[in-house]
Subunit: 274 residues, 4 copies
């Protein structure tokens, strides 16, 4: 079994030794470890350890960890089974590039996830999604109650693969799992509608895309990944849209993969991506 | 003699033929040509032609061009002598990386310019600038009248090489030449003060720098060049500042070089950079 | 009608004026123009002009151009109809990422081409290709005669979308159309087999992909497009393979699009990509 | 005091716990930790730990570490004092961009080093180096005995900042400290002389630079850092040279900084850069 332990606490003397010592004593063999401290003197401490664990179950390990280590350092922590795929639902609207890319990567085995469903406010992608053997739900707008019905309890992650409707705070609360969105600009520039048109009008020489966790405030949640591409005066807004597709799908895929691999820790409105 | 002709007009049938025909008939040999149209049907047309011109003077050529071509197409145009260096003044405050880089490139012969003066609200860089054989003026803040006195008539371009004081509209009007600024963010994100600190707080994964012409509105003028660098959760704001220096000096140098080579046309709040 | 004129000749005085004048006199309205000279004094001159042409046919225009302009300047030239899609055949082996990406871009309308067939030495992608409504030919290796039979006369371009068999000089001659290959390294580094493994062993910090025209010499033909991605000591060769897929498909798509849009001129073993 | 512990051994159960436990028990407070394993089952294990150490001296800590931990795991290791600057000598020939950049970064305090001397087979940079208050030695070629005399015992690192003479194996042995070279291509492409000319002739679309440790085989030592820039058909070899300067100086500076901060472990012909 492949375990992953993620930790966040105030930085103090002896954390690494305590955690590594605990795992070694429990028969877990650390295969990778990464840590970050915002300031060794009184800052925040983050750590991700991945380990092989042949002898025993994660639940018992977690209970022991809580008592023997976590309480002492007042840690926020989680322990996951790296071999267990997460259930990832995908929402999409009129643009298919992020959707197709995620489904294709999933089919290749690049994403450690199952996809219980794809839902859309448009019927357009039913055949494509069926071709990948995945259920497609056409849920015309307004559709929050229907989406909540579909998503609640059926998934561990929702991916907005260019889903162009704003979701309410109530929706976020009811669905209750992390939601990753891809926004088609290098946030915080051009939050909101029509970013490529506004990028064109501002005359920028670089466009970008941003994958972030969704919060109640539009396009303001913790950023997981960003990337950019150069443009010149030659690219009208519609060419930026086409160039942007290649960035959007790659940025979203990287963010989703990082999340599925339990590499992302949220801290305030920022992320640590190990 | 190396001539450069820059043109901006409404796009119409026959512009290239008219300009190229005029130059050929005048004995000018086109050595490079670049053009851009926002829309061949009624858009804006931009062109830059560089040519060898052995037989005659640019002034007569300009007069003939005005009568024979420019008036017919209602062109905005300029004709410059590519062998004549522009006079470039540099303003700087507490950070020396852009200043040193420009002076070093100038010494190498990479910038077709003379540097009549460097001025600063701080005395710090007097020795360095003297080492390059260039006059250094320490003009403590508030200093607009003194700067205007220094700059008016003595330069064709002012470069703000991390000059951290806001210049008034009156200053821009009195100095009367283009002013290029380097801003330490990928505009329009983080316009104004402390961009790296704000980038850190927003948790972006990419930082950048922007060279733009200065207008009355702070950090809102036409963008000439931008570039970016990746950052992670590991980089505190002060490390971003250090990483940013390498981007800032390169972006500013590219923008200055493009301007000195007459490659930039301003159109509304945007630029065409040939 | 949208015409494209591509020209290559020795650089001389008056070429642009002659071509632009000819097109204007023929009623063609130039909508974009790009040119390059390796040296205005006796170098090689390249030009691409795109124009609207309402009144008449391209064939007559070409005959007139040949007599009135091309012979005088001893030009190599071609004139194509930008609205006519090229016929593009695709060969693939065991890796599907470039294939799926090209088919998906084609379906979106991003590639001005028809795809008469996909052929492979493996049966694996028959269903996928059928899903895009395109004929799939499984032609087990050794297969050159069968491939020649399929391709000769049926296509204007062959794309090797990770086709892993070496093609003979006889094959190239018989098929007689340009062939674009994607090689999974930044050529000339790691030409030949297993580039990612060799990149890992050399300890490079950057991997890449190269799209080039196929010539008899393996991985040595004119390069159309390249791109790279950073790697660290953390990436074993198999992770490089996965990262490389994203670069390969993008680089190949850009090269194919440039070719389909008649933007590529081959000169010796190099390309001009307008 | 700021200590750095670098470790390389075969991967085994319990290494992290043993090292972290030892440091905690010794009163050292780990402030950053990074590790890498080529394969948790029998691969190679690398680790770098940085720690505050108020109570005691590094030498005693090293002796204790050797006995209590290192011998048990058969480790190669080194322990350095992060507050002690390394002595860095710089060799240069006709190109000043890497030299000036290193001296400027050193003056800013970005490099934790002292610079006992700059030596060159040319007299050109004597004034510049003197301006930074550093000794300049003009040692005309052939000069190996003189250079060995200058360097042996006086430095902990030699940086070849575009030093264009090949150094003999005997030189490397006699000087006896790591030597970092900047090569003006993305190795392994274009090892040896005139890489930009050869890049131009091959028609690449990307140029690069590589910083590596010098070994007896030319341009074949372990790579520390690489970066690239895009070029097009428009850039002749001499423009590539100019573009390349900006990459070279940045790549070299990053590699030197990583070395000075004890972030580089050499393993076979590869590097781990933490």
């Amino acid at each position: 079994m492949n375990g992953r332990l993620l930790i966040h606490c105030h930085d103090r003397h002896g954390i690494v030794a305590a955690v590594a010592g605990f795992l070694a004593a429990s028969g877990a063999n650390i295969i990778s470890s990464d840590q970050h401290s915002t300031d060794p003197e009184g800052g925040e401490f983050f750590m991700r350890m991945e380990f092989n664990f042949e002898s025993g179950d994660l639940e018992s390990l977690g209970r022991a960890f809580s008592q023997e280590v976590a309480e002492r350092f007042d840690m926020r922590w989680r322990l996951t089974d790296g071999t267990a795929p997460k259930r990832m639902a995908v929402l999409v609207s009129k643009e298919d590039h992020c959707l197709v890319d995620l489904l294709w990567r999933h089919r290749r085995g690049d994403l450690n996830a199952t996809i219980p469903l794809v839902a859309s406010n448009h019927p357009d992608w039913a055949n494509d999604v069926a071709g990948f053997g995945i259920a497609y739900h056409h849920v015309p707008f307004p559709n929050e109650p229907e989406l909540i019905e579909l998503l609640r309890g059926s998934c561990d992650l929702v991916v907005l693969a260019r889903y162009m409707r704003i979701l309410s705070g109530d929706f976020l609360a009811q669905v209750g799992v992390p939601i990753i969105n891809i926004h088609h600009s290098f946030l915080p520039a051009f939050a909101g509608a029509n970013p490529y048109q506004r990028a064109y009008e501002r005359g920028v020489k670089i466009i970008g895309a941003t994958a972030h966790y969704v919060t109640e405030e539009l396009d303001a949640g913790p950023i997981i990944e960003q990337d950019v591409a150069r443009v010149t005066h030659r690219e009208p807004a519609e060419t930026m849209v086409a160039l942007g597709r290649d960035i959007e799908r790659t940025v979203l895929a990287r963010a989703v993969k990082a999340h599925l691999d339990d590499r992302v820790l949220v801290y305030g409105n920022r992320t640590v991506v190990f």
